[in-house]
């Protein structure tokens, strides 16, 4: 079973978590000042990264909190998890070397 490390509770089985989409999206301060294209970009356009992706997760069946994670979308390997509000960590520093066990 895949273990996900909740920043509050530690390593937990993946069935306790739900995925929350791309992280670090900032809602425009004044949405009414945007045109339709810019608003659509904010609402719908996501990066669809192949590789390390910053995304939100929620420990829905545990502490209930949202947090952010860096996950490699090709290997499903979590490089880091961090609390909402924290800066995105450098994936190169914390990502295990390919081919080595976690």
């Amino acid at each position: 079973m895949l273990l996900i490390s909740c920043p509050y509770c530690g390593d937990r089985p993946e069935i306790e978590f739900t995925y929350g989409g791309q992280a670090h999206l900032v809602r425009p301060a004044d949405p009414s000042a945007l045109d339709d294209q810019q608003w659509a970009e904010y609402l719908y356009m996501r990066t669809n990264t192949k590789g390390v992706h910053a995304e939100r997760w929620r420990h829905a069946r545990g502490c209930g909190r949202f947090f952010n994670a860096l996950r490699d979308t090709t290997t499903d390997r979590f490089a880091a998890t961090y609390k909402i509000g924290a800066a995105r960590p450098d994936p190169a520093a914390s990502e295990p070397t390919p081919g080595t066990a976690r």
């Binding site: 509050y8 530690g10 069946r61 545990g62 502490c63 209930g64 909190r65």
Partner: protein, 184 residues
């Protein structure tokens, strides 16, 4: 008029490894550090910020569920309203939320040397005493049901489950225990 609790027949009975626990006062308490410090005068509160730990004082206990989220357990008497009033008075104007959920959940104990093994039949947590020591508590998934699990002794777990899920949870655990010959 009957008390709401009295109208609901017990969903399960005692076995060699499971004890239903009597009705209790249960409160959900959302409070930051300042509000928890103020509440400590009215209810036992943990002194540390450590995650997933229960703080028991006699028959009352305060279980960490999430950051700033706690489950307060107390005997059914003198009633949730009294505990709630005392806490509200102690916390005063500090921001907090205090909700009576006494009737939402029922509790039972899983005990005996196979307790962890029985729970692990439906729960993916590492329940080895090294990974889940005495005093640790958490909300987690027991198959399809959400439960609060609290290890009160090495071979004793306190399980809180929503009332409507309790027949499912107890039937499932009974089936799991039945597959372990030594549980009988």
């Amino acid at each position: 008029m009957l008390e709401p609790l009295a109208r609901i027949p017990p969903a399960f009975s005692s076995t060699s490894w499971m004890n239903p626990l009597p009705p209790a006062t249960r409160l959900l308490f959302f409070a930051d550090r300042a509000a928890r410090a103020a509440a400590a005068g009215a209810f036992p509160m943990p002194v540390t910020e450590e995650a997933c730990r229960a703080h028991a004082d006699g028959a009352r206990a305060c279980l960490w569920l999430g950051p700033d989220e706690y489950l307060l357990l107390a005997p059914a008497e003198p009633g949730a309203a009294r505990v709630q009033a005392a806490l509200t008075a102690a916390v005063g104007p500090l921001p907090h939320a205090l909700v009576d959920i006494s009737h939402r959940q029922v509790a039972f104990e899983i005990h005996g040397p196979l307790a962890a093994q029985i729970l692990n039949g439906a729960c993916a947590l590492d329940l080895d005493p090294a990974g889940f020591p005495v005093g640790m508590c958490t909300r987690t998934a027991l198959a399809k049901a959400d439960v609060v699990l609290w290890r009160t002794e090495v071979h004793r777990f306190h399980v809180e489950v929503w009332r409507s899920f309790s027949p499912y949870v107890t039937a499932l655990l009974t089936e799991i225990a039945g597959a372990l010959p030594a549980a009988h």
